[in-house]
Symmetry: C2
């Protein structure tokens, strides 16, 4: 399963109830990763880690539950950069990540280690690549790193183009290729933003080809009842002149990745849309 | 003034009331510095920073007042190294230090920047050297880094020999040499542990020669009424077969640094000892 930070993380959490039936692998989006306070922040990966360990804050939908903010409050008081919300428990995990990387572990190894420390077994989570892939937003307000667009600017700038810097030179995570070589029945594209969460994964050199080998490639709609459940997807679709419907999401996915997806998963709120897609020849689960 | 972490930091704080009369420079001990959680921890320097900014915890005598422990609690929960007590506000300062060093600032520049962020003006604090000097304890329990001896082992091992690793190749801080070249009336060796706090500074190549140029070199006794105010000094003197008195402290200082100190400062509790020293030809302030 490919997961972004919000919907993808929640769907990944759902697998923890199915571990007797399936042996899943969750592949996370590295495009949001950035350096902050000297720490490597991996927002989407961490949302998955916290979701599958039941440590995610259920209200915010990101970060740790029962969080405190002692470090960030003091960083702000000292005039440091306080624009990105890392709580104290979150910072603890980030310090452990940095220690692992400094000791020579790969990001995959560090992620595996953090997952074990969070008490999760049987649900491996890996970044899509151990090489850097960075989502860069070319907007009407200029070129900016993803987190500047997403957090500092609150998704206000209008996107002209998205760049997945490093993707061409990156390779799919070796653990993903081994997993697939051992036999993989189904790829699930989680209900994540196609442009901001799935594209950084799927733009990695060789990724689409590798996933295409699998019999069932299902995409779960992040659009329910004419709106995105969370995040800027509806706004971005609007900027592209698209209605924020499950049908136009599916059309976009077909345009972006022709012949990759052969099963579409829609919410019951979009049963009518599902009927139309079926009439057009698509396989749709509701 | 040369300052260790405890008594030195408190004496440095005293200068903040005298800034109309004197223009001091506080030189801190780099021998305790070590890497922890990927952060450069400078315990003695930070004790001075927190003391002169009135941010030190008055009960513990180290670390920040009104501190919280969210990060460290979580580090321990994740099975990480939680043996050294860094609170959340403290970690904020350490993250800022790391960011400054990563941006290419020297430790002196970073320390100056942190002091300004803490709101302190007119009382510069600098590490004794920008090069690394590390206090290494050769003990009956083996060779160990200073913080392992001091914090992890609670000063329990018996010291056989102290090594100030890197001191021979280090140079006195350029800012100290400039300060002295501009005219310095008095050097004060703070009431700090001679072996653990002052020796790492004074063992830096060229340091004693530089300080000897100054007219008055005063040493303030860390021994009051037959005991160390804080820390393991009395225990260490006992291991060396010395009584923990101001007189034997002064004798040790004379042996370690012949012809450096020409004024001794003792507590009123040691007036009798002061009389004996005066009888022996020493200049003593009580």
């Amino acid at each position: 399963m490919l997961a972004g930070g919000g919907g993808g993380a929640r769907l990944a959490r759902g697998f923890t109830g199915l571990l007797q039936q399936v042996a899943p692998l969750v592949v996370t989006n590295p495009g949001d990763d950035f350096e902050y306070l000297g720490l490597l922040v991996c927002p989407d990966t961490d949302s998955v880690l916290y979701a599958v360990s039941d440590e995610i804050d259920p209200i915010r939908g990101w970060g740790r539950c029962e969080e405190s903010w002692g470090v960030l409050d003091e960083i702000k008081r000292l005039g440091g950069p306080g624009w990105f919300s890392l709580g104290d428990r979150d910072i603890a995990l980030h310090l452990m990540r940095r220690a692992g990387l400094a000791a020579g572990q790969t990001l995959t190894e560090v992620t595996h280690d953090l997952l074990a420390r969070l008490g999760v077994e049987g649900l491996p989570v890996i970044p899509a690549s151990d090489q850097s892939v960075q989502t860069v937003v070319h907007s009407t307000d200029g070129v900016m790193a993803f987190q500047e667009y997403f957090v500092a600017r609150g998704c206000a700038p209008q996107i002209k183009e998205l760049e997945y810097r490093g993707a061409e030179n990156a390779r799919p995570n070796g653990a993903l290729l081994s997993f697939m070589a051992a036999g993989c029945d189904c790829v699930i594209l989680g209900p994540s933003n196609p442009y901001l969460s799935l594209a950084p994964i799927l733009s990695i050199s060789g990724m689409v080809d590798a996933l295409s080998q699998v019999g069932v490639v299902a995409a779960v709609s992040p659009i329910v009842g004419g709106d995105a459940i969370k995040g800027p997807l509806a706004k971005i679709m609007g900027e592209k002149g698209l209605q924020p419907t499950a049908a136009s999401w599916a059309n976009e996915m077909k345009k972006m990745y022709p012949n990759l997806i052969n099963l579409w998963v829609l919410d019951v709120a979009d049963a009518e849309c599902a009927e139309q897609m079926r009439a057009g020849g698509d396989a749709v689960l509701v």
